[in-house]
């Protein structure tokens, strides 16, 4: 097989060099009027190709994109994203048209004389000020939303959860009755105390360690992230949430789930995407897929980086209360 492959490569290289040397015998080297005409025409064909591809992707790839934000904070993200995308979309279509249309329209020939046009302060002012004004809007909205998401100081009654990353899995710890997480450090890692919780800290006693996240709908979740070994990134795309997990420090992020997993599964766009996926899975003879929120690793962290995930289930408050009550406290697990 390998020998065949080498022979194939050698033959391919030989043939292409033979062809290329033949073309090399055409010795004209500077674009003639015919070349300009031909390449100008091609640039219009390319413009058509580019437009077709852009439009095709914009329409038919809508279904594969993430569904609407499943957190209240993410609503404005979606909004800002839509505004930005419409804006850059329109500019993109216009400018690409200008570039390739001008290439065609002003393709050179003997009779054409270029216009000597070196400067226009008016035009330059227009395309300095227009983007500046547009940017003021985008920056303003963006910064407002950024503060919105990142400010966790005035949250009433949040659910506090610590997410802990290691090569190559996720663990999590709920703060328990007192809603305060006990201290943790890698020095305490031993046996089943895989998150390195300091058990001599009073606040640790009622903490609850889990391997799957349950979140109550409509309450602010205050995440604290720690890492055991290298950088990881806790990426929860459906909630428009992401934060790096950094060894040696605690990072934070927060959001309020808007839909339960069940509600999310009933959304038309989610149904459409799931059906599309299941058609592919069916053809390969795999089990059908059911929508779930996920936490993925999004910072290169080693060989199994591509396989670090944790399921997130969003439920109503009462169901969450039942679930959390069932989980054993650390004090009862780690003696």
């Amino acid at each position: 097989m390998l020998a065949l492959f080498y022979i194939f490569i050698i033959v391919a290289i030989g043939v292409s060099f033979w062809q290329i040397t033949r073309i090399m015998n055409f010795r004209s080297v500077i674009a003639s009027d015919q070349d300009n005409a031909k390449q100008g025409k091609y640039s219009i064909y390319f413009l058509v190709f580019l437009y077709a591809m852009m439009i095709y992707c914009l329409i038919f790839m809508n279904v594969i994109m993430l569904p609407e934000s499943a957190s209240f904070e993410g609503e404005h993200d979606d909004n800002l994203f839509n505004i930005s995308f419409w804006l850059i979309g329109i500019v993109q279509f216009l400018i690409q048209f200008l570039i390739f249309f001008f290439t065609f329209k002003y393709r050179g020939n003997k009779d054409r004389k270029a216009k000597f046009y070196a400067d226009s302060h008016k035009l330059e002012a227009i395309w300095t000020i227009t983007p500046a004004v547009v940017l003021v809007v985008l920056i303003g909205y963006g910064l407002w939303q950024w503060n919105n998401v990142m400010d966790l100081s005035n949250v009433k009654d949040p659910v506090i959860i610590e997410v802990y990353s290691q090569q190559f899995r996720w663990e999590a710890r709920y703060a328990g009755e007192d809603n305060i997480l006990g201290l943790g450090n890698v020095n305490y890692i031993k046996g089943i105390n895989t998150m390195g919780v300091n058990m001599s800290d009073q606040n640790s006693q009622d903490d609850k360690q889990v391997t799957e996240l349950y979140l109550p709908k409509g309450r602010k979740i205050h995440f604290k992230f720690r890492s055991q070994d290298v950088l990881h990134s806790a990426y929860m795309p459906h909630f428009r949430a992401q934060m790096n997990c950094v060894p040696g420090m605690v990072t934070e992020f927060g959001y309020t789930p808007k839909y339960t997993t069940e509600e999310m599964r009933l959304k038309p766009e989610v149904i459409e995407k799931t059906n599309g996926i299941n058609k592919i899975r069916m053809a390969k003879g795999e089990d059908p897929y059911e929508f779930n929120f996920l936490l993925l690793c999004n910072k290169i962290c080693g060989a199994s980086h591509y396989n670090m995930q944790m399921k997130i289930t969003v439920v109503e408050q009462d169901e969450y209360d039942r679930w959390i009550a069932e989980q054993p406290t650390l004090a009862s697990v780690i003696k």
Binding site: M1, F5, Y6, S16, I20, T21, M24, S28, V29, I30, A31, D35, Q39, G40, S43, F46, F49, M53, M61, G74, D77, F81, S84, I88, Q92, I95, I99, F100, F102, Y106, R107, G108, N109, A114, K115, F116, Y117, A118, L123, A132, L135, L138, I139, W146, V149, N187, Q228, D229, V230, V246, G248, T251, I280, Y289, L294, K299, C301, G302, H305, Y306
Partner: protein, 593 residues
């Protein structure tokens, strides 16, 4: 000028040469060699992405111990993306692009006999060569080359327990980069000094071609930011080898707690991106400079808004040094810093927009000579706009949260700096090949090369945006573990096919380049009927560039199609031709432009 009479041996002419023209060719060929490796790697890992865990003979042939029965191992996948990034960003687009064209064009376009220090120039190339050799050697280390991403964030890059590539492979990577930085600094200092001091009579700063401005500012950014990467790399070497804790703290790995206390990986991220972001412009600005020159020449029109172009280069350069934090919005740094960096980042859109619009206005009502170089320049403007626009989304911290490190980012930066800079490099090669080798490159192959490359570039990177918006993180060896990404696999196959065709298509260029070197048509002195000084030198290279006195400059570089009556587009050309060499004195009563 009699000093170029002494006999030259093979060694002083082709190897340890101090002549800037030969050094530029050395940079180009070394850069192209590294480029072939970098592009080939990307084709290998694209195959893995499209057909995960499938067996390929080509893997068996090239990956040696890093594959099992033709299936790529996850570790080597990460190594391939790491080395692909490193090679393309530093070895091809920094040294290969800047090194080649700064060396070739600076003395020729400002009217100097050579660089300020030919000796330092030679050292700069040989350090680059040495670092390339070390980088290539690192590919053959037993545990595999560096594989912590081209950003080499610690702790992953610091701990061999975390990933095998962080052993010997990483050490060689760091040594190679340290030497590379020394090479780049020596080169940049030389460029700055030369442009400041060796301009010929009449060549004021505001008469410099825009290529010169771009290379000049690029060199300044390099001198400001590369030393910071060197210090980051040195501290990382300390952490790895001497047990210091600059970047490491509280780590438990392979069953034991390590002794590191008090360091922070975020410090490394700051130091790295303080170079890393300006690096984008170190890569891009030379390409934009080359494009300005080529678009103007081939449109037979002056570049529109010469002073605005200089202003925007300076503005981009200044802003580029205060935006590095936009790579770190979610790194755990203070959110307030995120606000500041969002603001400065989005400001870059303004000078970038000015540049794009000025290029388009230069095309308007031109007499476009669609040579391959011109097509690549137009292609650059196109990809620069496509990639630049999505920067508005990524630079906005609130939006970046959700698309950070997804394929959306990959698509964005490949278009705006990768493809654009490569297009600038190709444009430069097609345009100045006659100056380098005294022969012309083949036109037909050039056209084939251009259309295949631009179609494939868009075919690869436009759909990739949507893969990113579906939430797929980059650097995933395989996506089959996530049913939620199953519908992306088909798109990945299409992308990979475009990538393979585009990659193989570059053979056309390589063949054209090397065959033309020996068999191309002999060049005339000024084949593109251009205004700049390099076209007043003889086709045959001589030491000192001009046989007699260095020419004096009387005008700016862009007097294309200047008319008798500036208001009447139908009037005759003022100098009888649609171009006026910079050495032509002003006519009586002629207004300088």
């Amino acid at each position: 000028m009699s000093e170029h009479h002494h006999k030259e041996t093979f060694v002083t002419k082709y190897i340890f040469t101090q002549d800037h023209k030969m050094i530029s060719k050395q940079f180009l060929v070394t850069g192209m060699f590294m480029g072939v490796i970098g592009v080939f790697m990307s084709m290998l890992f694209r195959m893995q992405i499209a057909w995960p865990e499938k067996s390929f003979t080509i893997f068996e042939a090239f990956l040696g111990p890093h594959q099992t029965d033709g299936v790529m191992n996850p570790d080597i996948y990460l190594a391939l993306v790491t080395i692909h990034g490193t090679i393309m960003v530093f070895f091809v687009l920094t040294a290969g692009l800047s090194g080649t064209f700064s060396n070739l064009l600076i003395p020729l376009q400002i009217g100097a006999r050579d660089m300020a220090s030919g000796f330092m120039n030679m050292i700069s190339y040989w350090l680059f060569f040495l670092s390339s050799v070390i980088m290539v050697i690192s590919l053959f280390v037993e545990a595999g080359p560096a594989s912590a991403g081209w950003t080499i964030y610690p702790p992953l890059s610091a701990l061999p327990q975390a990933i095998p590539g962080s052993g010997m492979g990483m050490t060689l990577w760091l040594v190679s980069m340290a030497i590379f930085i020394a090479s780049s600094l020596i080169g940049s200092l030389n460029y700055i000094v030369t442009i400041f001091n060796l301009r010929t009579k009449g060549m004021t700063m505001t008469r410099l071609p825009l290529t010169m401005w771009a290379f000049f500012v690029t060199a300044i950014i390099g001198v400001v930011s590369f030393p910071v990467l060197l210090s980051a790399a040195l501290l990382l070497i300390f952490d790895r080898s001497f047990g210091t804790s600059f970047y490491l703290s509280d780590i438990f790995i392979s069953g034991e707690v390590l002794h590191y206390q008090g360091g922070s990986p975020v410090l490394f991220e700051h130091l790295f991106w303080f170079l890393g972001h300006p690096e984008v412009y170190i890569v891009l600005l030379p390409a934009l400079g080359i494009t300005s020159e080529i678009i103007s020449t081939n449109s037979r029109k002056p570049i529109f808004g010469y002073r605005a172009m200089i202003g925007s280069i300076l503005a981009i350069a200044f802003l580029s040094t205060i935006v590095w934090g936009h790579h770190m919005f979610i790194s755990g740094m203070n959110p307030f810093l995120g606000s500041v960096f969002t603001f400065t980042t989005l400001l870059i859109a303004i000078p970038s927009a000015v540049k794009a619009f000025n290029y388009i206005t230069t095309l308007w009502k031109g007499n476009l000579q669609l040579n391959p170089a011109m097509l690549f320049s137009i292609g650059l403007v196109s990809t620069f706009v496509t990639g630049g626009l999505t920067g508005l989304v990524l630079g906005d911290s609130a939006l970046d949260i959700n698309i950070h490190d997804t394929y959306f980012v990959v698509a964005h930066f490949h278009l705006v700096m990768g493809v654009s800079a490569i297009f600038g490099m190709y444009a430069g090669i097609y345009h100045w090949f006659p100056k380098m080798y005294g022969r012309m490159m083949n036109k037909t192959l050039g056209y084939w090369h251009f259309w295949i490359t631009i179609i494939c570039a868009y075919g690869v990177f436009w759909p990739m945006h949507f893969v990113g918006l579906a939430g797929l993180p980059r650097r995933y060896y395989s996506i089959t573990n996530f049913p939620m990404f199953d519908d992306l696999l088909q798109i990945n196959v299409v992308i990979t096919i475009f990538a393979l065709v585009g990659g193989i298509g570059q053979i056309i260029f390589l063949a054209n380049f090397f065959i033309s070197m020996y068999r191309g048509q002999k060049a005339t002195q000024n084949p593109w009927r251009s205004n700049t000084l390099e076209w007043t030198t003889p086709v045959e290279h001589i030491h000192g560039n001009w046989p007699g006195k260095i020419p004096e400059v009387h005008r700016w570089a862009y007097d294309y199609s200047k008319r008798v009556d500036p208001k009447d587009d139908d009037s005759d050309y003022l100098h009888g031709e649609d171009f006026v060499l910079q050495t032509t004195p002003l006519l009586e009563g002629e207004e300088p432009s």
